[in-house]
């Protein structure tokens, strides 16, 4: 059998990203000022983003194992934005936490590479490898503050439950492989159709196991136990990174696997995901009400947002998926922005992560309070912010697909969420400052806040462009 060189153009962004991550890892030895590494990472990711637009990049390669299409490209844009914003908000923060090591940047680049591979996976083997590359890098990042017990604990819990979930994923993959004789997503669907495997218990079992594993990754209830602890204990910049990147990657593979490999048995996986979505929205929003730590509160909020985005998957229509992608992009901006403000409050000897630290922030630091107000409004879903548009399109897609009752439930929980988001706004604007909070600012932080604020407001007022991008991105 002659060995044919596969077409490498579709994986050009991944190749660039791999080289960049390896380069940063080596450069760390020679460069003393770690800020330089941050700058190099941001520039390198920008180069990767250029590779998204190379000719011939939208193609399938490695015998269908790697699919680079509009769908994966949209997610790769989210991942690139995620990593750039994370690097921008972490530069000064790492100094404050006294963990300014170069491996940090290499690890988040490797995690992003894993996400990119996940979004493009056309085969369960590639999907597994991408998922593990992302997960292993993120476990280390969660425990990056080595001397801090909380960070260790976050890493440990994330690691134990994450590896537990991947074992479930593998068992599901092995059942699907045994049943269909292939791991290629397209061919799995073909075999299910040709051999009439729909409804077989082994296939249902395999689907349940895969759904459970992905629910762990997107922190959907009842598989969310790791999320609040991991989010609270991890370094705040990594909490921001984890709550956007791996979640979006999880949604990318859910959309890919369930709509590409299991479209014949849609009725069955919809019955798995509907209760998960309802529980996720319920637990996320209700438990968030009683939180006193803002990182933990945003962890529950992130769980709740996964519930809304699941509605887009449940519809199964191109419109639903496009609205889910759209929501992930919007969520990336508003969540990153909120975490950027939280990181600003952290200074030497002051944690700044309890909700009462925000009392009277509008009097001492009006600009920071105003920015937090925008992000909290957006997370609640109040126009004219992007969060409203994200929810609007998801709910509209779900209503068009005939899930009106599900949308009603989602809207009720969304209204409950206003209580805990707006409580922060109330603390900032209607209470008197107790102690003087010093902000830790830096130019890169300012840039990150500017990007997120402008994006949240611009998408909120002119959503057509993003919606169009997400809609045409879908095959």
């Amino acid at each position: 059998m002659p060995l044919v060189m596969p077409d490498l153009r579709p994986i050009a962004p991944e190749i660039v990203m791999t080289c960049l991550a390896l380069f940063i890892l080596v450069a760390d030895v020679f460069i003393r000022r770690k800020e330089t590494l941050a700058l190099l990472s941001v520039l390198g990711v920008a180069v990767t983003a250029f590779a998204f637009a190379l000719p011939g990049v939208l193609n399938t390669t490695f015998g269908g194992m790697f699919i680079s299409d509009g769908y994966s490209m949209f997610f790769k844009i989210i991942f690139a934005l995620n990593v750039i914003l994370t690097v921008l908000i972490s530069v000064k923060y790492l100094d404050v936490e006294k963990v300014n090591f170069g491996e940090y940047y290499a690890l988040i680049l490797f995690a992003t590479l894993g996400m990119m591979i996940m979004a493009s996976a056309g085969d369960l083997i590639v999907l597994y490898l991408g998922l593990e590359l992302m997960a292993l890098s993120t476990y280390v990042l969660a425990g990056f503050i080595r001397y801090d017990m909380k960070s260790n604990e976050a890493a440990l819990k994330y690691f134990l439950l994450g590896s537990f979930a991947s074992a479930f994923l593998l068992y599901g993959i092995s059942l699907a492989y045994g049943l269909t004789g292939t791991t290629d997503l397209g061919r799995i669907a073909m075999t299910i159709e040709q051999q009439g495997l729909a409804g077989k218990p082994a296939l249902t079992m395999s689907m349940i196991l895969i759904a459970v594993a992905f629910s762990f990754k997107i922190a959907a209830v009842p598989f969310h136990m790791w999320a609040p602890d991991a989010y609270e204990g991890a370094p705040t910049s990594i909490t921001a990174f984890m709550s956007v990147g791996p979640k979006a990657a999880g949604f990318a593979v859910i959309g890919r696997v369930f709509l590409m490999a299991f479209p014949m048995v849609r009725a069955e996986w919809v019955t798995i995901f509907i209760p998960i979505a309802i529980l996720t929205m319920a637990v996320g929003n209700i438990v968030a009400l009683s939180q006193t730590n803002i990182k933990r509160m945003l962890a529950y909020s992130s769980i709740a947002h996964a519930g809304y985005a699941l509605l887009g998957i449940i519809t199964g229509t191109p419109d639903g998926l496009a609205s889910m992608m759209n929501y992930m992009l919007i969520y990336a901006f508003m969540n990153m922005g909120a975490f950027a403000v939280i990181i600003m409050l952290r200074s030497e000897g002051f944690k700044g992560d309890t909700i009462s630290d925000y009392e009277g922030l509008s009097k001492t630091h009006p600009l920071a309070a105003a920015l937090m107000l925008v992000f909290m409004f957006s997370l609640t879903g109040i126009p004219p912010t992007a969060g409203f548009m994200g929810k609007f399109y998801i709910f509209m897609a779900a209503i068009n697909a005939g899930y009106t009752w599900l949308v009603i439930i989602a809207v009720i929980f969304s209204a409950i969420s206003a209580y805990f988001y707006l409580r922060i706004v109330m603390y900032m604007y209607m209470k008197d400052p107790k102690e003087t909070v010093t902000l830790t600012t830096s130019p890169s932080m300012g840039l990150a806040l500017a990007i997120t604020t402008v994006a949240v407001l611009a998408i909120g007022m002119f959503p057509a462009k993003v919606v169009y991008l997400a809609r045409v991105a879908f095959p």
Binding site: Y128, V140, L160, S174, G178, T183
Partner: protein, 100 residues
């Protein structure tokens, strides 16, 4: 020739032992070993499927799983050691800095 079902039953049994061990044991190292047991249960079933289907994909996946499991072990033990330096315990019930 050993029928495929026997391998699958063995795999399911080992996987269940792993799940049970993970959920009931409270020592981090043993929980971690249970996860490894689950991964190896998957390997048994993949190799069995691969043999009966006369298809190499399953065995390729097994190689990847073994490799990733090794990387996972390295990272897991590193996390456990980092934790042990701060708090000399290997018991998950002592990991209770965060609640709620």
């Amino acid at each position: 020739m050993v029928p495929l079902n026997w391998y699958l039953m063995l795999s399911a049994a080992v996987f269940s032992i792993g799940v049970f061990g993970f959920l009931t044991r409270r020592n981090i190292i043993i929980m971690f070993m249970s996860v490894e047991l689950m991964l190896n249960a998957v390997n048994i079933s993949l190799v069995a499927f691969s043999h009966y289907l006369q298809d190499l994909r399953g065995q390729v996946l097994v190689f990847f799983i073994v490799t990733v499991a090794a990387a996972e072990a390295a990272i897991g033990l590193a996390i456990i050691i980092a934790l042990f330096r701060n708090k000399a315990t290997a018991h998950v019930d002592d990991m209770n800095e965060m609640k709620g």
